[in-house]
């Protein structure tokens, strides 16, 4: 059996985080009663016209710049035609001939995945099936939400690279604030174009396009499964059919939606209702200068500036909320490594326990910085610090110091109190004292345990150990 190579290109639809839709003033907010966020434009009523949202263009340009694209100065909008009940005008306003951003790339494991283009378009409405009457129900709330479609070249060669490419793109877009990039809610949707070919071949095989992939994990699964399916077809001597397939994550398999015979002739032509864009070099340069620091730049900076490991850096920079928390916490407490350790350890674990994604994190950097400072100053021990963190994250506590006081988490630091405990333990367990002095070192642990218990865990164990050693030596 020959060796095969997987060839993957991605089409990533990203909903932009504007307040209003791309061609009308209706709100883009998620949810809302059916057809309550719609107007004559969303419904494609006769005589309604589109009015372009400037912020959508700004966001799309920002995405293009962050993904190393050239910006098309004279971009235009085109109409793409097909009949479907969720597409009220029976055409989608999109960009074919002069897309806004072209020729970019994203780096994946040291290799550049080329981005062919990023174009702007409008989202369609939502269909649901009514089992009682066996009809489709159309909700136009999402119709006209601003989208960008990021189209890569077929440069991806494995499931891992596909997942990594999406992760990188998502991290960049969320850092820019142009989208909330929530795959579950559909604000980031990935279509996978995949073909296989004998290793070493330069020709592209017949490809299938997979839709309905809604998590990072299922991108990897879909690539693996489709690769296996296509290889099996070839091995069985069956042709690969150019088709669109629907991924079913619960079954871990895809099924054919439509084949090339139904391939649509979209009849694109320039949208006459929308004037072309004309973006000056200066306008573009201003946007470039205003870009925030991107994940790739942070990835280079963190190890050098903060001494973080590549692994920690990678986790932090892939989530906007995490790297913002990290940078502000580190600045506030002056202990970047502790900040990274806390976020990588306790914070992520707490999020996992709560079943929340990082962007729902409720943890002010001031609180985390204070917790780190209190622990490093020996005011609280690790356990107390952890309790304070949980309390802040669950909303139970707002003020870290107040919580520490109210719950008596501060460690007993008073020398005379510690010495008193030591004395008390030695008196009540003379046997262990004698055993230790007779050379049985195990007995020390027993005495320490009793002392800690008496302190209810709030003594500085280092100091306690010193005092106990000293007192035992004195006998």
């Amino acid at each position: 059996m020959p060796l095969y190579e997987t060839v993957v290109g991605l089409e990533i639809h990203v909903e932009l985080a504007t307040a209003s839709k791309v061609f009308c003033g209706c709100s883009t907010a998620f949810g809302g009663g059916q057809n309550t966020r719609a107007c004559p434009v969303c419904m494609g009523l006769p005589g309604a016209l589109p009015a372009l949202n400037r912020q959508a263009v700004e966001y799309a340009v920002r995405a293009g710049l962050a993904l190393n694209c050239s910006i098309t100065k004279n971009a235009v909008f085109d109409r793409k035609h097909y009949f479907y009940p969720d597409l009220p005008k029976a055409f989608q306003i999109s960009q074919l001939y002069l897309p806004l951003c072209v020729d970019g790339w994203v780096e994946v494991s040291g290799k550049r995945i080329r981005i062919r283009e990023i174009h702007m378009e409008e989202d369609a409405g939502k269909l649901s099936h009514d089992p009682w009457t066996d009809v489709s129900l159309v909700d136009f709330n999402r119709c006209g939400a601003p989208l960008i479609e990021i189209v890569t070249q077929p440069d991806i060669r494995s499931a891992e690279e596909a997942v990594e490419a999406v992760r990188k793109i998502r991290a960049a877009l969320s850092m820019l604030g142009v989208s909330d990039c929530k795959m579950q809610e559909g604000s980031l949707r990935v279509d996978v174009n995949l073909s296989v070919r004998p290793m070493g071949s330069d020709e592209l095989g017949t490809r299938a396009e997979m839709k309905n992939i809604n998590s990072l994990r299922s991108i990897g699964r879909a690539v693996t499964a489709e690769t296996a399916r296509q290889i099996e077809q070839i091995e069985l001597g069956k042709p690969i059919i150019q088709q669109t397939r629907r991924w079913d994550d619960s079954k871990g398999a895809s099924s054919a939606m439509r084949s090339k015979e139904d391939a649509l002739d979209y009849r694109y032509f320039p949208e006459p209702d929308l004037a072309p864009l004309s973006l000056s070099d200066e306008w573009i340069a201003e946007r470039r200068a205003a870009l925030p620091e991107l994940p790739e730049q942070k990835r280079k900076r963190y190890p050098v500036e903060f001494g973080l490991s590549a692994y920690d850096t990678d986790i932090l920079v892939s989530e906007k909320a995490l790297c913002e928390l990290f940078e502000r916490t580190a600045a506030l407490c002056g202990r970047p490594k502790d900040a990274a350790n806390w976020i990588m350890g306790e914070v992520l674990a707490a999020l996992k326990d709560r079943g929340e994604p990082p962007d729902q994190l409720r943890l002010p950097p001031e609180a985390l910085a204070r917790i780190i400072t209190l622990q490093s100053d020996g005011v609280v021990n690790r356990n107390g610090a952890r309790r304070a963190l949980t309390a802040v994250m669950s909303g139970e506590a707002e003020d870290v110091d107040g919580y520490v006081t109210a719950n008596q988490l501060a460690m007993v630091g008073d020398e005379s109190a510690l010495a008193g405990i030591v004395r008390q333990v030695m008196e009540s367990d003379a046997d262990s004292v004698a055993a230790y002095r007779a050379g049985k070192e195990k007995a020390f642990g027993r005495l320490m345990g009793q002392a800690m218990k008496a302190l209810r865990g709030k003594g500085d164990p280092g100091r306690l150990k010193e005092l106990l050693t000293e007192a035992l030596g004195e006998g």
Binding site: S20, L52, R54, Q55, V138
Partner: protein, 100 residues
């Protein structure tokens, strides 16, 4: 350019229109005459001529990102032949999900 019934039928499908056989023949004849006449455009030397989609010198016609009130739902869907619970009802689609 010679028009055939095949082209007519393909274009009818794109147009979402069904033609009977006599309608197809008449359409091929009419469109054939029209398209045939339109070939006089080939007399023009259009090498290097910009295909001008917009006659006005307008660019960057955009509005600010401000939310304006949406329509009253009942009014908005009042013209739909079939409605249900605030939705517009359409014949069932096989694929489910959406078009894009």
């Amino acid at each position: 350019m010679k028009l055939t019934d095949d082209i007519t039928l393909r274009v009818a499908k794109l147009s979402g229109i069904r033609l009977t056989e006599p309608e197809t023949a008449a359409m091929t004849r009419d469109l054939g005459a029209i398209v045939g006449y339109f070939d006089i455009l080939n007399e023009l030397d259009t090498a290097g001529v910009e295909p001008r989609a917009h006659i006005l010198p307008l660019v960057n016609r955009w509005r600010e990102d401000v939310v304006t009130p949406s329509s009253d739902r009942d009014e908005l869907i009042a013209n739909a032949p079939a409605r249900r619970d605030g939705y517009v009802a359409a014949p069932k689609t096989f694929e489910g999900g959406g078009s894009s």
